[in-house]
């Protein structure tokens, strides 16, 4: 027997969700096996991981909070990928954003909040865009693959943060390499009283909305999509391919940087070397699982928020390694991406035949 994948002419609307659901089930099954191996009870673990965060106000709002940076990086990656610019550097751009934001935060003591907040967000955005500039120029001017350059700049951004925190920004009280707390005037508003859900989430949703509107509805968005799908055809149609790529790359970096500022001004209030829990890399995953749709990215980011919160509960309650949360995300990524592709095919099994079939 031999399997052949044959492209379907049309895909009924329910196949996508069905297969993604199947992928999720498969993920749960694989996770359950791992949890069993780790000595935990699979069923409660799965409940802790995927459901219980949604059942309490605390769990839900904390899920929103941990989804916030992923909303930004997911949008940043999605918009870049839509234009065919393979930005793997959202991590570095987000980190650059945290640097810019911290810099403003540490120097904005005397400002009113209505000035301080826009300033800190702007700084994050600018630094993120700036960090995206070099690879973007190398790509558009010299044709150098951006995957590698954006990727390699990620550790460099982190090293700059370590350098700053070991040097000029070392905590003036504890001497530990985390910065002083930023000025009150630059801290973001809490949008859900008595929780930690801050203005950054609202901002993230607005960014998602703007991206969706721009790419789907505006003329610039049509150009962006054309450049992403067929750069040569776009060039022949007179579209400014290089400029589109450059601007998209900067926008992508700016969004990631804004995400960094939102973390600094919204929750962390200080810069630490571990400020980003691979938010940028996770953004690639978020965007892809969402099939590069912006609304999808928002939903996937929220789902990741739930898993992040849930795997902490599961780890503690059932005494299983906390790494399992990451493992679940990885398995989920792989199964869902495969499901998204498989839905486009049907599998034809051919039995080795000696005679032709009728």
């Amino acid at each position: 027997m031999k399997a052949r994948f044959v492209l379907r002419a049309s895909t009924p609307w329910w196949r996508g969700p069905l297969l993604v659901g199947a992928a999720a089930l498969l993920t749960i099954l694989i996770s359950a096996i791992m949890i069993r191996w780790a000595g935990g009870a699979p069923i409660p673990a799965v409940r802790y991981m995927f459901i219980s965060p949604l059942q309490s106000r605390f769990g839900f709002t904390e899920s929103l909070l941990s989804a916030t940076p992923l909303v930004f990086t997911g949008a940043a990656v999605a918009i870049a990928f839509r234009a065919g610019y393979w930005n793997i550097g959202a991590e570095g751009q987000l980190l650059a954003g945290t640097i810019g934001a911290t810099w403003v935060g540490l120097h904005a003591e005397s400002l009113p909040r209505i000035v301080g907040v826009p300033l800190i967000l702007l700084a994050g955005m600018l630094f993120g865009a700036l960090w995206a500039l070099t690879p973007a120029l190398l790509r558009t001017r010299l044709g150098i693959d951006e995957v590698v350059t954006t990727l390699l700049l990620n550790p460099v951004a982190l090293l700059i943060i370590t350098g700053l925190l070991n040097g000029p920004w070392r905590n003036s009280e504890s001497g530990f390499p985390d910065s002083d707390v930023i000025a009150d005037s630059t801290k973001l508003w809490i949008v859900w009283p008595n929780t930690r859900v801050h203005f950054g989430l609202a901002l993230g949703v607005v960014v998602i909305g703007l991206c969706w509107w721009f790419v789907g509805k505006m003329s610039g968005g049509l150009k962006l999509r054309a450049v992403g799908l067929a750069p040569n055809a776009a060039r022949i149609a007179g579209l400014p391919v290089e400029r589109t790529l450059l601007i998209t790359a900067l926008a992508s970096g700016g969004i990631a940087g804004l995400g960094g500022a939102s973390e600094i001004a919204g929750v962390a209030h200080q810069l630490t070397t571990g400020i980003s829990n691979n938010f940028g890399y996770t953004g690639v995953i978020v965007a892809t699982l969402a099939a590069l749709s912006f609304v999808g990215a928002l939903l996937v980011a929220l789902m990741f928020g739930v898993i992040t919160v849930g795997s902490f509960s599961a780890s503690r309650a059932l005494e299983i390694p906390s790494q399992i949360g990451q493992l679940v995300q990885a398995v989920l990524l792989i199964t869902v991406v495969c499901a998204l592709v498989i839905q486009k095919y049907r599998v034809v099994w051919t039995i080795k035949r000696s005679e032709g079939r009728k």
């Binding site: 002419a9 505006m218 003329s219 049509l222 022949i236 579209l239 051919t350 032709g356």
Partner: protein, 512 residues
Amino acid sequence: MNSVEGVVIASRGGAPSIYLRNITKAYGETIALSDVSLDLRAGEVHALLGENGAGKTTLMKILYGLSQPDSGQIEADGVALKIESPRDARAAGIGMVTQHFSLVKNMTVIENIALASAKTFAIDLARVRAEIVSASTRFGLDVPPDAIVSSLPISLQQRVEILKALMSGCSYLILDEPTAVLGPNDIDSLLEVIRRLRSDAGIGIVLISHKMAEIEKVADRVSVLRRGQVVSSSLANGITSKELVTLMVGEQQSGAEQRQRSASPSQSQSPILVLESVGVTREAGGLSDVSFAVRPGEILGIAGVSGNGQTELVNVLSGTTQIDSGTIVVEGRQLGSNTPQSLMRAGVGILGEDRHASAVHALQVVENLILDCVEKFAGKLQLRRKEMLSHCESAITQFEIKANPKQAFGTLSGGNMQKVLLARLFSRNPKVAIISQPTRGLDVMATNYVRSLIAQASKQSTAVVLVSEDLDEILELADRVAVMYRGSVVGIVDHSEASRESIGELMAGIAK
């Protein structure tokens, strides 16, 4: 390769025949082939005709194992053949030269040919080279073994393809629209090769083509496919090309009207597009000292054997290749630099030679149609979708496009793709239209329609630069013919003096 000898022996020792029996193949909703049966014989040239999308390529891909039929089977001498991959097909003595060539561009000829027989470990390139040399003399197909494929002109690449198939020992050879990419001289020599392979080596050849003249010259047997079915299969002598066209398209009118040229339309007017000593330096090829002028309402044909700078010229005029010397003047104004944007702003429109590369397959027809004038439909907050759609619908009516505005461009047939791109070009009312290979690979009906569109545009005083490898097309449409050879224009001939012979000489580089 001893298999080369094997071919000869096999064909002398009786005539094996291949029978495609009741082949059906559907792509989703599209039925590409329905219950097709076809009979191929050794030592015979079998021409396969049909409109675009009739199913010719699909049928041959199935025979060569590139595609699997939904039902039906293939037999050789009455024995069922199992062809699940090109490897199986080659083992059964079938070779194919596909419509879009299947060569690895930046490998050498030797490597390309060695590929087919490469073992996992050692490869003996010296032996392959010797085999190439001996095979090229045997079959009269000269190729430079050490050249990198991408540096060869199309006609030579095609020879490599044919040689590759022959050296794998095939006794049947499928050629899918081999002449679509060749100039007249190369077509003639290809037909000569085909004849020789048939008579001297006894090879059975399937020739797919849209050009009746060629079929008349070499075919022994002709089969016509229409909408996935064989409507006729008979010996070639005694059937006229008119009958064939009727068989292909049904009872529709298919006559092409000659272009009416108004007496020297525009000699009085001043030229609208002037190229002066334009040069592009490249390691290989490029342009040197290209000069010509086109007047409103005039069609300037650009003839030449492919690979003599036509592609570069079109790229220069579309702005995708920057010029290194010379000037381009549009309407008396010299362009600072020839970017796509500046050319468009000056009123130059373009139809590229590769329709697939000129459009975004995944976008809708309507989106592709306005891709070069997105700003025109940009509202304050979003694209004015309604206007786009109505613009698209009127283009669909005006240009007789068989498509739905929201359909993905990539799902159109070649002819309809071409019509959409022409609609895009002409709806900007360009002062100058650069049109390259407009009818390559199109069937008779579509070809005639596209040509009439070009003629019509010139009537509305658009200046047209028509680049084509089809000399008949140029002779039919052009007012003057510029001939390119090795990157320069070697002569410009007026329509009244232009003939296949005079232009052919210029194309071959025999200077006046």
